[in-house]
Structures are given as structure tokens and as C-alpha cells.
């Protein structure tokens, strides 16, 4: 019992780290590069609990390159007291970090298959590590597509990186926005529409999805419509994670604890629950 408690305490104690750099991405979104004080290994799709001292702790996905464990990178959208405090941390400021937690994107699940990365809004942040790995190990996959939807051209996350990826010949990048002026020459419409235009093979593909839950529900329906098996679709769930180790139950979703069993889960496991309004 004492050993179990000790192990639990170890998993829930934050490490103190310092912000190495801070960059504004959007009006309300900042990327923090944190000095982990040593290699910080993680799987694409995993998250950390970030603690703003005296204010609170929130789960934030890791958005950096898994091949560069000396740089711990988080993109934070300032929408509440804790995330506002985290986003305001300047160079040298201290914060608490515990993790990495949860299941990541199963990039080894479908060798040779086409991979579709479908992101909405800030949902691109948890998918960026997967994109880094997909591009670093490009030969292991079939076609790779990034389909990204955002509110407006001004709200496109990682805009310079999107441009860089677009200029490559080994990844298809399609971007759409919900609203734009006549000067915008790209797509204007919902992100699900990009699925029908993309050139992947539905029967031999793996789809990684992250965005608002209503978007993911519609994506799930559209993917079924074009013949992608639910077992090959993986979604990243967002819930009210507190302990992050499956003890407290705050993030329970049906029989799953999102912090421990997710945040990345196969759609077939949660598909039925996505339509349950009480959850």
C-alpha cells in the first residue's frame, strides 16, 4: 500500500522547469519552449500537466518534435485563468511540469498505409509531433495528407510551418477557413469537405483527428461514408483531466479515463459514446 502511494506521489509531483522562449502564434495563443533540464522523451499525442504556481494546473498537449527531446514545446491558448497565466510566462519564468501522460498517436499501427492528419483550430498542436515523425520517417508510409480547418486566415496556427510543408512534394497540405475576405485565394468551407477532395485510399489509410468534438463527430460520419474503417481512425479527446494518472475520475468518459486510456483513442472504442449527450 505504502509503495503504491509512493509510486502515485512520484507520478503526480511536478518538476520545476523554466521557460526558454515564448512566441506568440495567434491573438490568444502562445508557444512556450521549456528547458526540461535533460532529455524529455515523449510520444506524439501525449500531454503534460502544466502548473502555473498559485493559480492552477491544466493538461496541455506536447507540440514539439519528438526527435528533439532537449526542447519541450507546448502551445497554449489563453482561455481561462490558468492558461492565461501560462501563456504570459516570459523567458526564465518557472512553472511546474509533470508528465508525459497518456496514449499517443499509433504511428506504427499501419505501416505502408496512407496517413491523413485532420486538424481543426488549436487541434493542430497535438498533431504536430505526429507530423514531425511522419515526415522524418516518410518512407514508412503511403500518401501523407494534412487537412486543416481554422476559423479565418488570421487564425491559422503555425502558418510559416504550413507554408513550408506545402512546398514539399511528399505531403499533401489542404487548408480551409470558415470565414475570409475576397483576398483569400484558398478554400473557404468546413474542414470535412477536404476529406472528399483528398487523394488517400480509404480502404488502406489511417486517419488521425483532433479538433472540437462536434467536428470530430462529423468527421467520423463522413469517414464512414467514404469507407474508412473506424478501427483505422484515431481521435484525441479533451476532457477535464486533473490527476492525469487515472485516480480521480474527473476525465471519465464512459468506461474510459481519458488521461490514462487516451487522450488518443481508436474511434471504434468511443464512437457510440460520441453521440451520448450526457457525457
Amino acid at each position: 500500500m505504502a509503495a503504491a502511494l509512493h509510486a502515485a506521489a512520484e507520478h503526480t509531483l511536478p518538476q520545476f522547469m523554466r521557460v526558454r522562449a515564448r512566441r506568440q502564434e495567434l491573438a490568444d495563443t502562445w508557444t512556450l519552449e521549456i528547458d526540461p533540464g535533460g532529455p524529455f522523451e515523449f510520444l506524439p499525442g501525449q500531454f503534460n500537466m502544466l502548473y502555473a504556481f498559485g493559480i492552477g494546473e491544466v493538461p496541455i498537449s506536447i507540440s514539439g518534435d519528438p526527435a528533439r527531446p532537449e526542447r519541450l514545446v507546448h502551445t497554449v491558448r489563453a482561455v481561462g485563468r490558468t492558461t492565461q497565466a501560462l501563456a504570459a510566462l516570459g523567458r526564465g519564468a518557472r512553472l511546474g511540469v509533470r508528465g508525459p501522460y497518456g496514449a499517443g498517436w499509433p504511428l506504427d499501427a499501419a505501416p505502408g498505409a496512407d496517413v491523413v492528419v485532420l486538424a481543426g483550430g488549436i487541434g493542430l498542436a497535438p498533431l504536430r509531433p505526429a507530423l514531425y515523425r511522419l515526415l522524418a520517417e516518410r518512407a514508412r508510409f503511403g500518401r501523407v495528407s494534412l487537412l486543416y480547418g481554422s476559423r479565418s486566415p488570421q487564425q491559422l496556427l503555425y502558418a510559416s510551418e504550413l507554408r513550408r510543408w506545402r512546398s514539399r512534394f511528399d505531403i499533401e497540405v489542404e487548408v480551409t477557413v470558415d470565414t475570409a475576405g475576397p483576398e483569400w485565394r484558398g478554400n473557404l468551407g468546413v474542414v470535412t469537405k477536404l476529406l472528399r477532395r483528398s487523394s488517400f485510399d480509404p480502404a488502406n489509410s489511417m486517419v488521425l483527428v483532433c479538433g472540437p468534438e462536434v467536428m470530430m463527430r462529423h468527421v467520423a460520419t463522413d469517414l464512414a461514408g467514404i469507407g474508412v474503417p473506424p478501427a483505422r481512425v484515431f481521435i484525441s479527446m479533451e476532457r477535464n483531466m486533473k490527476c492525469a494518472v487515472g485516480f480521480c475520475g474527473h476525465c471519465q468518459y464512459g468506461s474510459a479515463f481519458v488521461c490514462r486510456d487516451g487522450p488518443v483513442v481508436p474511434l471504434e472504442r468511443l464512437e457510440r459514446l460520441l453521440g451520448v449527450r450526457e457525457l
Partner: protein, 158 residues
Amino acid sequence: MKTIEDLVTEHAAFRDLDAAQRALVAGCGRNRSFRDGEVLMREGEDANEFFAIRKGRVRLSVHLPERGETVIETLQEGEIVGLSWLFPPYKVRFDARAIGTVHTISFDGKCLRGKCDADPRLGYTLMKSFAGIMTSRLQSTRLRMLDVFGAPGGAAAD
């Protein structure tokens, strides 16, 4: 060189039609291309024509006196520009303008309406295809109305 019938056969909007029906539809079509910024149709005009986009991108917009041209949606390869030719009062509701060079099959809506009236099986099949397009656009519009990328939610709203 491809015939209009070949182009109709290749286009996603007509994939549910059989060969004879595609031939009938192709009889009302012709090749048309548009330069960047050129108008395909303008709000208020008679809706006697619609376009199946073969290549390029088209923006649908409406002109608001206080905001100028306001873009509603973009359409591209495999999509249809113009649905008002199907229903009275057959008036165009939005402006459609080419983004870059756009290649289309342009259809005479009146001609096609006549063929559908004369051949209800063709009319039903075509109407089913267009109902699918309209449903999809309605669902997309509803989803965009939710402004899902604007609202914070879940754990992010700490």
C-alpha cells in the same frame, strides 16, 4: 480530344447517371473557361445556366453595401456552381467568381429541365444527385454557423 460526354462521365456530380442519361445531360453542356476574377454568374440574373467545375476554384459571394464583397464558400473541381436553375423563380442568388483559371462544363439549365420533364427517370436520378449536393452544403453551413473553432471548450476552458 475529349467530348462533353467524356467530361460529364468524369465529373463526380454525374457519377450516378447511366451512360444513356449522361449522353442526354451532355447534350445540354459545353466547355467554358474563365480567367482569374471573371464572373461565372451574378446575383439577380436569370438562372438559366450552371457549371460543373473541372479544374480550378470558384468563390461564392454576396455584395453587402457596408462590407463589400463577402465570401460565403469556395467550390472546386468535382463541384457544381449554381443550383437556382432547378427551382422557380430561377434567379441567381449569389455571385460566383473565378479564383485563378477555371475550366467548367457549362450547362443550359432550361434545356436540362426540359429533358428531365420529358424523362422522369432522368429527372429523378439527377434530382437525387443534386439533393445530395444541397444536403451536404446545408450541413456544412450549419456546422460553420456553430463557429466551433472560435469557442473555447473542454479542459482548455480552465
